[in-house]
Symmetry: C2
Subunit: 501 residues, 2 copies
Amino acid sequence: MMRGGPSTTSRKEPRMNQADDGVGELQLSPEAMRELGYRAVDALVDRWSALPDEPAWRGGSRAEMDARLGPIAPPPEGPGDPDTVLREAIESVLPQAARIDHPRFFAFIPSAPSWMAVLGDFLATGFNVFQGTWLASAGPSRVELEVVEWFRGWVGMPEGAEGVLTSGGSVANLMAVVMAREIAGNPDSPVVYLSDQGHSSLRRAARLAGIPAEGIRVLPTGPDLLLDPDRMRRAVAEDRRAGSVPILVCANGGATNTGRVDPLAPLGRTARELGVRLHVDAAFGGFAALTDTGREALDGLGDADTITLDPHKWLFQPFECGCLMAREPGELTSVFGVQAEYLQDTELGDEQVNFGNRGVQLSRSFRALKVWMTLRTHGLDAIRRGVDHGIQLAERAEARIRSSETLELLSPATLGIVLYRFVSDRGDAEAIDRLNRRIQARLIESGYAMVSSTRIEGRYALRLCILNPRTSWSDVEGVLRRVEALGVELSGLTGRSIEAR
Amino acid sequence: MMRGGPSTTSRKEPRMNQADDGVGELQLSPEAMRELGYRAVDALVDRWSALPDEPAWRGGSRAEMDARLGPIAPPPEGPGDPDTVLREAIESVLPQAARIDHPRFFAFIPSAPSWMAVLGDFLATGFNVFQGTWLASAGPSRVELEVVEWFRGWVGMPEGAEGVLTSGGSVANLMAVVMAREIAGNPDSPVVYLSDQGHSSLRRAARLAGIPAEGIRVLPTGPDLLLDPDRMRRAVAEDRRAGSVPILVCANGGATNTGRVDPLAPLGRTARELGVRLHVDAAFGGFAALTDTGREALDGLGDADTITLDPHKWLFQPFECGCLMAREPGELTSVFGVQAEYLQDTELGDEQVNFGNRGVQLSRSFRALKVWMTLRTHGLDAIRRGVDHGIQLAERAEARIRSSETLELLSPATLGIVLYRFVSDRGDAEAIDRLNRRIQARLIESGYAMVSSTRIEGRYALRLCILNPRTSWSDVEGVLRRVEALGVELSGLTGRSIEAR
């Protein structure tokens, strides 16, 4: 019954196995598996080593991709050569992308995984773990229990609080909204409160969960861009007077735009007082709780009813790895548990957790392994210093921007994020927006760094998000210096006109 | 700026990099990465080669797992040895699980990935592709467009129909319900119809989407276990008379319990006539459309408004890989699209698809690569024969059960699934249920095979689900023979008493 032995068709190229029961053709010989596997490892090691000297981003239009890969066509009927397929993926497909883990990838939210995490995912995939039920994954489920217990301690939730790993923050946020609605008994006119600085996934989550449009209340923030507990209190009172049922306030534990953290402790007290649940979207920022700076900024985080965390952001994990933590034991299962006759074999008692009953997925991969392998290899101290590194580089960038003649700080360094722009006294507000957009485009084109933009108080803002432990100060300073130089060049400013300002 | 060079601390063990900017400690040297990577490859090749001689399942209680791994404890503060961590994962964690891809894993829905798919996932992880936007993943997004175009052709949806890869069928089913609700304009009393043979994830999906409990209508099936279009028509009429708004009928394109396919063509006609959407949950069964038998069984599939497919089931992919196909162009984006200021750089025109706008995830991994690499390597013909292989083995199992003195067929072979039980004239119905449960337990304990059970018309049923191309007839026959032998042994029947029956 041992399959996968060397092929007998060709001694020279023992690639494909001979058909056995008509299907051996879907197998490769162990020799071929090993050789192709080594080549995949080599390709990744080469990529990681060369990364800092590569552009931080490479893209192309649909037409350019079709030119490279050929127009979209049906798959081949017969077999192809695995070496060629592997090479095409490595050379023509995968590099045509943002290098999210490049030391000068400062756009959106970067993600710089550890190698042990990548190997953890590879092993979980190759063992093809089904992590929906304890019966099917005792070892993996035990590891997930351990990892969510670590998270519980880090975010300061009480003992007994439970968690589950998800595909990412979007699904975790969706779960938080669904829980609030279900636990409130599915009222007719539920209201969910979001900050105008909340992540887009929260609005989508509320919509997916069937919260009516008039029940998705976006609360405006003040000049500090923070959710004000008093404003929340007034909104809740107003909605209650109007006969609606406020069920959930979503706060930012590190807003994607600015990195800022809503006043979690006061929000938590107000929410409890008002009998409304508090969810904190700490997708990228939550792991800052490992550092002194972050713990202070996130004060009150553990009082939330639910918390979204994304280990694939600031815990140095590859995509995908999200998490929802829930304060009250049993809540996750009571909302998400399923029963089915074909699952009757999986009921094993409370000590054994069926993680498929704690979230939206039944078929689940083993996401906890990568986290577990990373922490066991590098230790918590190194992770802590890695997070702190990003926080400190952003603070240094802020100081550098403040001391610049031509850069304007738009939002101070908070949890690794700084907003700024090039300013010129030539042209109106719109001209300055256009100028910064051109600076950004030129910087990206140069391949030196990938930076993205946002808007703050209506102004076009360049944004630095610094999470990668491989990023050095010279990477950050190099971007600021280039923005200054490009600004001068593109605005037609000369050294003299700068001095004259 | 080149990081990741060999460590200078120890020439003998160049494992960890020296700190650089305080964070090099999170890196490994290229030599260490390569060596650990090769070891992961070796471990997987060894596992795959040895698989048929291993038990099909290994598990343990929470207490047993704690005994093996130690009680749950905080992660270490300092670094550990990566070799040890890798070994612990490979030896103590990963094997304590169901071997879903074992040739004698017949429980639930098996999954037998191709090696090229595993390598595809490994590469996607190691390149850390963010596949939410075209800007961040031109090459990967182009490949996803190609893969969903293949699926569109296979399921028979018209040109222009769109798709998106998901974490699995649960999320795809959720999306189908949300789409129906949104496209119906979010009526006050929506009704979703499920078959009593529908997958548990559909009920959960309706609940997550905020369909009120009284709007989740489970339609009973007749003795054929199929959804009857006339019953559906009557239910819709009744609900409309009562003032509710029927929005969606969910049909099975291969029920998990039995493999049976609802009458899709008549259901599609009726749904169109009634102005209700039709969703087909073809998570495992949909890829049977590649074969003659399957295409016939799935007649009408392409007329559905939405279809769930799980490439991680019958397309030989590892977890996770699901898909939602939508017939009407633009529907996915109109329901799931998001906008945010920090994403303003990602708007690139219609030819360039932001896949994060087609589903529930913004951060997404590159799931299409594994499908693409599998099909390019093995070709469509081999895939087709692989699917056919499972269908044929199940048919042969059905014949074998029919000819057995002691086995009773409970549901004929359909898309790889057969239900049966051991029968004895000793004892009542409950005793027979108990006997079959004991047979199942003994078979699993023996390590020979993993089989699960379900209920059909109230009777405890043993279930064979055969999807693995590595499974041979002797694997299937071996299970049936052992069930017969265990039944005789456990019921106290002797050869004589069997003859006397």
